[in-house]
């Protein structure tokens, strides 16, 4: 499974756009990139998933360059309630489990 590297923490203010970049240099052809969010004392929650280029849903956008060695989760206009840990995961179609890293702790301030 490809290893992921993302910043340990990020700070932002309400209303700003937040971009969290994840590096996955050893990503394989049949790997997908998935992002989860986790609030304290809660289970992880799926945010978005993509294979290449750009994916957008009602919560976030995911940008994946052509070489797929990195990806960027973009959260538009964050609010205080977006304070959480964000995990970048590489999901391999040959494995049934999710492998979590340490994630990025995002703190949104007023």
């Amino acid at each position: 499974l490809a290893k992921t590297t993302q910043p340990i923490s990020m700070d932002s203010y309400e209303g700003q756009e937040v971009n969290i970049t994840c590096s996955h240099n050893n990503i394989a052809t049949n790997d997908y990139i998935t992002w989860y969010q986790q609030f304290p004392s809660q289970g992880p929650r799926f945010i978005i998933q993509g294979y290449k280029t750009k994916v957008t849903n009602e919560v976030a956008s995911l940008f994946i360059p052509a070489d797929r060695k990195s990806s960027t989760l973009s959260l538009p206009r964050v609010s205080l309630s977006d304070t959480a840990v964000y995990y970048c995961l590489v999901v391999n179609t040959g494995f049934q489990k999710l492998v979590f890293g340490t994630g990025t702790r995002l703190l949104v301030s007023p």
Binding site: S41, P44, Q49, Y87, T93, G101, G103
Partner: protein
């Protein structure tokens, strides 16, 4: 929106005791999981379950652990003889289809405290 539910929310037990953590996955989901998260650490995969048998398990999931789907709705994790290091949040998850890229839906977790 359907949710994964887990009971109890918090379980306190003495070292050496058996505990059973319970989960009700989302109806019609096919794959079931247990993960754990020791305080301040990563979420770790324990086991996946499909078609009434274990699909994959991690090194953590040793002989002290077992899983069962006793009926059409519940999915349980049993720890036979708890150790102090078993103290953690235990998350159940379920997935609707066979594709690993299908979203996994996590429950709220059970906090297990072993004294």
């Amino acid at each position: 929106e359907p949710e994964v539910t887990q009971t109890p929310s918090h379980q306190v037990t003495q070292m050496g005791q058996e505990v059973i953590l319970r989960c009700v996955p989302i109806s019609n989901h096919l794959y079931f999981y247990w993960y754990r998260q020791i305080l301040g650490q990563k979420v770790e995969f324990l086991v996946s379950f499909y078609n009434n048998e274990i699909s994959e398990k991690s090194e953590i999931f040793d002989d002290q652990f077992s899983v069962e789907r006793p009926d059409g709705s519940n999915f349980t994790l049993k720890i036979r003889s708890t150790k102090l290091e078993d103290s953690a949040m235990y998350f159940c998850a379920s997935r609707p289809g066979l594709a690993v890229t299908d979203t996994q839906y996590f429950g709220p977790g059970t906090r297990l405290t072993v004294l």
